[in-house]
């Protein structure tokens, strides 16, 4: 497998600005994110503090971002990044279908929305997971509960239903996407995931539901889940003024590093992270 110089995760202003700078500095990289860049930008009604572009709608700003990418011949891959593993000599990036290698990683996944459910972290890897497509075959003939946020979650739930015996779905964030008829819709709130050695039940406000596994399919990913071993502070990725994290070769930028959550800040951090990564790559110091 060929190794990239860098992988950028996230296509909001931070990730895009990072990608631009990597391109200008002739680095081989992959940019993962959404083809529509950032949902947050797209839906912003009105922006007045983006220097050089007074008084613009989110949609117009998004359109300018897309135009800039196109002019620079930068593509966004919509493959979902599940986990990034620091391997000592490089990073291994796992998506649903593929594994990639890169010397450096720039994390721009945005701010994580969502507190973990009680029991979620304790039972992670023991019946609790974040990637239904990854683990679904393990639940062939078994009972699975899925908490879903949005459309993608519905698609994943439909896939799990092809393999599992029974699938329950709790739409935490509603979606218009069609759910398979044989999936049992749940109502109410999830309270806790219980179980001793492994997940045994999903407890709703209406009572416990016995299951073999629980998947939480959120739209954003908790940074600690995305990169095992990364240092956080108050739930944000901890970085120095060069956007370096505690992991050698791993940089972070944008809302994921903290507040204020502003586009110009994110872009600025994205650029700093890219230039730091370039500097690091150029010293040939990849001995972690």
């Amino acid at each position: 497998m060929s190794r990239y110089d860098a992988v950028v995760v996230g296509s909001g202003p931070a990730g895009l600005e990072a990608a631009l700078n990597l391109k200008i500095r002739n680095k081989r990289f992959l940019l993962f994110g959404s083809h529509s860049t950032s949902y947050k930008v797209e839906t912003a009604p009105h922006i007045r503090n983006y220097l050089g572009i007074p008084d613009v709608t989110g949609k117009e700003l998004q359109s300018r971002f897309l135009d800039h990418l196109q002019r620079m011949d930068i593509a966004v891959s919509a493959e979902q990044v599940n986990t990034i593993y620091p391997m000592g000599t490089h990073f291994a990036i796992a998506t649903n279908q593929n594994a990639y290698e890169a010397a450096a990683v720039i994390l721009c996944p945005g701010a994580f929305q969502g507190k973990p459910l009680p029991g979620e972290e304790r039972l992670l890897g023991r019946g609790v997971g974040y990637c239904a497509t990854c683990d679904a075959p393990l639940y062939k003939g078994k009972t699975v509960a899925i908490l879903g946020w949005g459309d993608e979650a519905v698609h994943e739930a439909n896939f799990v239903a092809e393999l599992a015996k029974t699938v329950y779905y709790l739409p935490v964030k509603p979606s218009a996407a069609p759910l398979r008829e044989d999936i049992r819709l749940l109502k109410g709130q999830a309270v806790e995931i219980t179980g001793e050695q492994k997940a045994a039940a999903l407890v709703l406000d209406s009572g416990p539901l016995e299951v073999d596994g629980v998947f939480l399919l959120r739209e954003s990913i908790a940074p600690g889940t995305l990169v095992p071993g990364i240092a956080l502070k108050d739930g944000f990725i901890q970085v120095d003024s060069d956007m370096r994290t505690n992991l050698e070769g791993c940089f972070a930028a944008g809302d994921c590093t903290g507040k204020p959550h502003q586009y110009m800040r994110a872009a600025g951090q994205g650029q700093t992270a890219a230039l730091s990564a370039v500097s690091w790559l150029n010293t040939g110091n990849q001995q972690f």
């Binding site: 391997m87 796992a94 593929n98 890897g125 023991r126 990854c134 393990l138 050695q197 095992p228």
Partner: protein
Amino acid sequence: MKNERLIKMTELDTATFQETIKSGVSVVDFWAGWCVPCQIFAPVLEELAGEMESVAFCKVNIEENDELARQFSVTNIPTVIVFKDGEPVSRMVGVKQKDEVQAAIQSHL
């Protein structure tokens, strides 16, 4: 670039499993074809296999051997179980870095 000698691990099934792990130290990697983290993790074990010659490094495809997966309560993959004289003595779930795996095996030698 350091000199890496990667040794392919022996694929085990229900028939050959007991016989292989019953004596000495064995490391068994439970994996499946659709598991991307398993693909990422395999070279780490192959590298260790080249360095720790007294240890048997093996793998079990859980899609073809689900009885073995159930017998050892493998619910998430990759799962690596270290066996000593037929008994499971250590378990790691998920991709780990080489030095962590090496230390876990070393402690049973």
